[in-house]
Symmetry: D2
């Protein structure tokens, strides 16, 4: 059983947090929806939200990934959830794995922005916070009900589905 | 890491599945929302949904709880999620614990009906399906981001919050 | 063309404003959703909201209807929308008609609470505010895209549909 | 009082009908949401939906506007609602005004896609269908609770708000 210790959520942007810009008619980033989502979920787990960056994961450079690794390393909590765009989530998971942090880090995201009524984001957040509480130290990707080792997962670009690598 | 084996979801009703009857102006049960929720969640985990009953958990009798226990016992899957009204979830969890099934059974529910826009149900479902994949055999209650042993939990009726018993 | 003069919205409760009480598991009234609805609608019409009462229209007595009539009479605006429970909306419309106020008064409501994701409330509010701007002095019921004279309408209790009386 | 005659809704696309493409992570058009919106609104007005085109109004050419004019001219109904992107709604309204159709034509749209939970679309649709039933022959723009003559309106690109021209 988990000890109900605090979990850190590091926000990096991604589809999760995309908003609709009603003046320009396109998607953009404003503020993270994490606080609103935790409130809607009536989340009783102690969660520390760290809004690190707000990026489309296709625009992430190595230096950005290094900032994510550093935040996980510096986290006072040894159980961490990272919200991340799906397109390069596997690359960041691989970078976190290589860093050998000795913590439980779970990456998650959404196929549909939370601001849309039909998002998978709330489900994925519930899933990631749960895996983060019980899985042993390591890096994982939790998407759409499944969990994968951080160094053996990819997103199938045609279907949008995360798949295990052998 | 979980083996990605199939999880059974046994539906018993509860706030999760309450609908608004627009002719009579009151809440009622019609069909389970589980299929719609799993579709919204774009759930890629193999899930077998069993619509066992549609009850307000305040109306549950011992015989109803025995049916829940029997369904869990007869489940081909050894990882089971039970959706349940919150008011007597702890009683059913205790009954399941006493039954000693040797399976991982996670009870979950919602404080707000899924049909309301602002439900915690999707978050709780993501959480329960995740705990069910990784926790060892035993009975658990997963609500609002936390997980409790099935024989040491109660719902605080004043605050609506689930609490650990010593 | 309407002169874009201000419209008063008098709130009386009804399904429109029902909320889900997550502690007691039943529907109740808290605050009106009118302000949130007007914000969501990005309403650019000048609207004065008056929260007069928060009642299930089945509980309305003659004295309550008299308060609604008095508010419409005292309104500085000569174009008024009244949000109202559907069950006795026709009775209040008849009382308002008998009062002969010389103003345009449009009653509206919802079959499903606004707090549910699938409410007709926002559509009905847009409809009522529009009819209120252009119809001549008189009392009207605007529901689900149609408009009826306030003294020749009833709600069919079996189907939930408003119908014209001959 | 309106005679409850049938209203035609001519769909041309616009923000109203934008969807989120979860594979490519961008907005696109698939099918119109009009049928779903009318169902949610429990619309009891007789409505004939004509899905004419699915375009971003910034991409509309003169030939596209001619098709909209022709559809309005050929409509068996003399009361018509046109759903349209907001960016060039005023241009199409001007073209319809010049055509002198002798029908009541109301253009409407949305600042936020209907597929987002927080859209103004349902409110605007209720508003447009109501204005269309009661306004005399002519061309109008109905947005966010207000109505404008079709030849004296513009969208303020900085604020996103429709304004009357003198």
């Amino acid at each position: 059983m988990p000890s109900q210790s605090r979990v850190r959520v590091i926000v990096t942007g991604g589809t999760f947090d995309k908003e609709y810009d009603e003046i320009r008619g396109r998607l953009f980033f404003k503020d993270t929806h994490l606080h609103e989502m935790l409130r809607l979920a009536r989340c009783r787990l102690e969660v520390e939200v760290e809004a690190l960056m707000m990026m489309d994961s296709l625009d992430m450079k190595d230096a950005d990934r290094e900032r994510v690794v550093a935040s996980c390393r510096n986290s006072a909590e040894d159980r961490v959830v990272v919200t991340h765009g799906t397109d390069t989530m596997a690359e960041t998971a691989a970078a976190l794995t290589r860093a050998g942090l000795g913590k439980t880090v779970v990456l998650t995201g959404a196929m549909i922005p939370y601001a849309f009524g039909s998002s998978d984001g709330l489900f994925n957040l519930g899933s990631a916070l749960s895996f983060a509480q019980v899985l042993p130290a390591g890096v994982y990707v939790a998407m759409n009900g499944r969990v994968f080792p951080g160094d053996r997962v990819r997103k199938n670009r045609e279907t949008g589905v995360f798949e295990a690598l052998p």
